[in-house]
């Protein structure tokens, strides 16, 4: 960076109507600062921010051949951008403008005119001192890889992937399990419209798999993330399916022939079994089986191979190995979703003790026509239709001791949905729901809940269950009815627990890889809770769906599209403009000790092993300056807030104005921190 010696400074003292002028003697300020030899022009004006005021600055730059401008006015948070643009119009580098805040931090907070005027002079001198040490700064540029990576193939990831792909960008969609579809694929119906989940989801799954711009990697996990917005490089581990994706026709002969059959099916919440070679569910995308190597007899003992024998296209391939892929992409969408909290820590509810105590997701599978009972609600213990079904809400939600402190948000609605669905299928059954508060904000949500009560006769009991005791075929519930104010002991046939939802397994590890934050509950943190709800704190990483917090399907889809829109906003840019106020390393001074690397929250600093010094990745650096403060030798500096500039400001503010006015300009040495010897 070439240093421009700033010798001709113009100072512009704004009245801001009477806002400044009433408390600060602006003429005196103009007088006082002219004692500085570098100030070749000083002027005052009622409103420098107005068009006329800006023009007067531009004229002065030309007339007096100014190389830098100091404006004594309102807060830089207000008009710094305005005056920098004006300077640019006058042909100056915008960073040759400094603002002395003599309104918010002077005239508005002080009453004594003399003191305020004196302080205004000091603030002006500090700004002059700072701008003298300014260097021209130019925003950097970095290229954008026109490809998106979406992590997680549930409804959130599918929606984000489709939206980005529709905008014409290539998308890599990564899913950890053998099929996309996520939690929504396990559901029976969706609230509040009761349309079938599979009917609206499966077309989207197929669309994602066949879209010309989407590359799908299932059974694949993210191993490593490097790079920064516009230029991420992500390492994926594509686990060996041991079935050739190209050759397989999805006929299903292999899993019919597999002798290892009694493996609990994860997709069915363990309510039914699968073989060692399997597709998780009938509508899986891709419809290509995987071999569960830990269970497969061939992999365990080397004997078997039945699946390979029956596979006519010869797709089964025992020698296939994990594949490591590297994806270059410009942005990353995180859509890792959620999982259910295990009810095991709530032993009093007897989930561990009785087969007839189930979670709500297990109930979804029982109610689903494609589920283990073909859509019949049969209690697990005796395969009979339960006459009474009891639900309990907030199992682990709003629980600061054994569960999660937050409201899981979707349970009230899906429980109402379950109640209605059971009443529709078995009108004679008796449905009872224990709740703490029924929370139904959402379009048509409360109407839906009221319908459960009014049209279906579902009994809502404000209260909780304290103990479940199983004797014979009955569950004895020790509960309380809060509205009656007394104990309510009853029996039921089936107890459904609305367990809390929590971030998916591995979310924390992924967050670390992405160098982005999670909240105290392990959900991904947004960059700003109001204004940047779908961006993470790391540039180029966007959040989609329940990885960010509990969400229902409509909200998930809305956020997925919002994340996609934000992502597209990055991908369409030909170049990314970077903040010029970033760290800079003086390589001759740096000895590569990496103390600065450790303080950088963005991993923007790294040691160049060959040169033995630290280098700054301009695209990652956000300009906090922590590294500049941490470096013991002063080898790291922050452009725009350099050591020299801050020290010059300190000097201007601390040295007594009287002596300062007469003193020679402060000498400045090349050593950024070097002490001056003028005092």
């Amino acid at each position: 960076m070439t240093r421009v010696i700033i010798k001709r400074i113009g100072v512009f003292v704004c009245h801001c109507g009477s806002n400044i002028k009433a408390t600060v003697d602006t003429a005196a300020v103009v007088d006082a600062i002219q004692s500085d030899a570098s100030v070749v022009h000083a002027a005052e004006y009622p409103y420098f921010c107005a068009e006329g005021g800006q023009q007067s600055i531009i004229n002065a730059v030309h007339a007096h051949a100014l190389d830098a401008v100091v404006v004594c006015a309102c807060s830089p948070r207000m008009h710094e951008a305005t005056f920098r643009k004006a300077a640019t119009r006058a042909g100056l580098n915008p960073y040759f403008v400094e603002i002395a805040n003599i309104r918010e931090q002077n005239s508005w907070v002080h009453k004594n005119k003399e003191a305020a005027t004196q302080k205004a002079v000091q603030l002006a001198r500090a700004a002059i001192a700072k701008v003298k040490r300014a260097v021209p700064l130019f925003p950097g540029e970095s290229a954008v890889t026109k490809r998106a990576l979406v992590i997680g193939g549930g409804i959130a990831g599918i929606q984000s992937a489709l939206d980005i792909a529709e905008a014409g960008f290539e998308v890599v969609l990564v899913e950890r399990t053998p099929s996309i579809g996520g939690k929504m694929a396990q559901l029976d119906k969706t609230f509040p419209t009761l349309d079938c989940a599979a009917c609206i989801l499966t077309p989207k799954m197929v669309e994602a798999a066949t879209h010309e711009h989407i590359v799908l990697h299932t059974y694949t996990e993210v191993e490593k993330v490097a790079g920064y917005v516009g230029n991420f490089s992500v390492t994926l581990r594509k686990r060996a399916r041991n079935v050739d994706m190209q050759k397989c026709t999805g006929c299903g002969d292999c899993y019919a022939a597999c002798p290892v059959k009694r493996i609990p099916n994860e997709f069915e919440c363990g309510l039914s079994n699968r073989a060692a070679i399997y597709v998780p569910f009938a509508q899986a995308v891709p419809n290509v089986p995987v071999i569960d190597r830990e269970r497969c007899a061939y992999f365990r003992s080397g004997k078997c191979g039945r699946c390979a024998e029956v596979c006519q296209p010869g797709a089964v391939n025992f020698t296939q190995e994990d594949e490591i892929l590297t994806i270059e992409c410009g942005i990353i969408v995180v859509a890792t979703g959620y999982q259910l909290l295990s009810p095991d820590m709530f032993g009093e509810l007897s989930y561990h003790d009785s087969a007839d105590v189930i979670t709500s997701l297990e109930l979804e599978r029982f109610m689903n026509a494609a589920g283990p009972t073909g859509g019949k609600l049969l209690r697990p213990s005796d395969k009979q239709v339960p006459r009474r079904v009891t639900f309990v809400q907030c199992v682990g939600s709003r629980d600061t001791t054994r569960g999660k402190p937050y409201c899981s948000k979707i349970c009230c609605m899906y429980t109402a949905k379950h109640a209605i669905a059971i009443k529709e299928k078995y009108p004679d059954s008796d449905v009872e729901i224990f709740y703490i508060d029924v929370r139904t904000p959402g379009k048509n949500f409360d109407e839906f809940y009221r319908r459960a009560v009014e049209a279906y006769g579902v009994r809502y009991i404000k209260g909780q269950i304290g103990k479940v005791v199983t004797t014979g075929d009955k569950l004895h519930l020790q509960a309380v009815d809060m509205l009656e104010g007394r104990r309510y002991n009853t029996t039921t046939d089936l107890l459904v627990l609305a367990t809390a939802i929590e971030p998916a397994r591995g979310a924390k590890t992924l967050a670390q890889m992405l160098n982005t934050a999670t909240d105290t509950n392990g959900f991904f943190s947004e960059a700003h809770p109001k204004l940047r709800p779908v961006e993470s704190a790391t540039a180029g990483v966007f959040l989609s769906g329940a990885c960010h917090g509990p969400k229902d399907i409509p909200e998930t889809v809305a956020q997925a599209s919002a994340a996609a829109a934000k992502a597209i906003g990055v991908l369409v840019k030909p170049k990314l403009v970077t903040n010029p106020c970033i760290a800079q390393v003086n390589e001759t001074q740096c000895n590569g000790c990496t103390i600065c690397n450790a303080v950088c929250p963005y991993l923007a600093l790294s040691r160049d092993g060959e040169r033995g010094c630290t280098t700054v990745n301009a695209a990652l650096c956000q300009g906090c300056g922590g590294c500049a403060a941490a470096c013991p030798s002063g080898a790291v500096d922050l452009l725009g807030f350099s050591h020299a500039q801050i020290h010059a400001e300190v000097d201007a503010l601390c040295l007594q104005p009287t002596t300062h006015a007469n003193a020679a300009p402060i000498k400045h040495t090349n050593n950024a921190h070097g002490g001056t010897t003028d005092d």
């Binding site: 703490i436 209260g463 309380v480 007394r486 104990r487 002991n489």
Partner: protein, 121 residues
């Protein structure tokens, strides 16, 4: 007045549902924190319920908010006992009562001590 974090109670009722003897209480546990919060600790101290509490800690163990109603019961008992200035005599009477009622049987020492503790100011 109390170290129990009564303001955390969200009146879910799990304490009363967990309590093995709530069915027989005039004021079940889920009212306790609320009563104290509303400045009606006096009415809790007068309730029979605080004497039927078994100090079994089920309410505290199952409370999702870390409120410990069991402690409120004991604190309310002490308030009453201290106010009425119950002396050792009262406790000793209780012990005598136990021993006379169950004479000849092996009453565990811990029961006698616990009963004294409960009834002594």
């Amino acid at each position: 007045m109390t170290t129990v974090m009564i303001e955390r109670c969200m009146t879910c009722g799990r304490c009363s549902a967990a309590c093995p003897v709530a069915f027989a209480m005039d004021v079940p546990p889920h009212f306790w924190a609320v009563r104290v919060r509303q400045g009606e600790g006096e009415s809790l101290a007068r309730a029979e319920a605080i004497w039927s509490c078994l100090a079994c800690f089920c309410c505290a163990a199952r409370c999702p908010r870390g409120v410990r109603p069991v402690e409120l019961a004991e604190q309310a008992r002490s308030v009453t006992l201290r106010k009425e200035n119950h002396t050792a005599t009262f406790a000793d009477e209780t012990v005598l009562q136990i021993i006379s009622k169950k004479s000849g049987k092996a009453i565990p020492q811990q029961l006698i001590v616990a009963a004294m503790r409960k009834k002594r100011a």
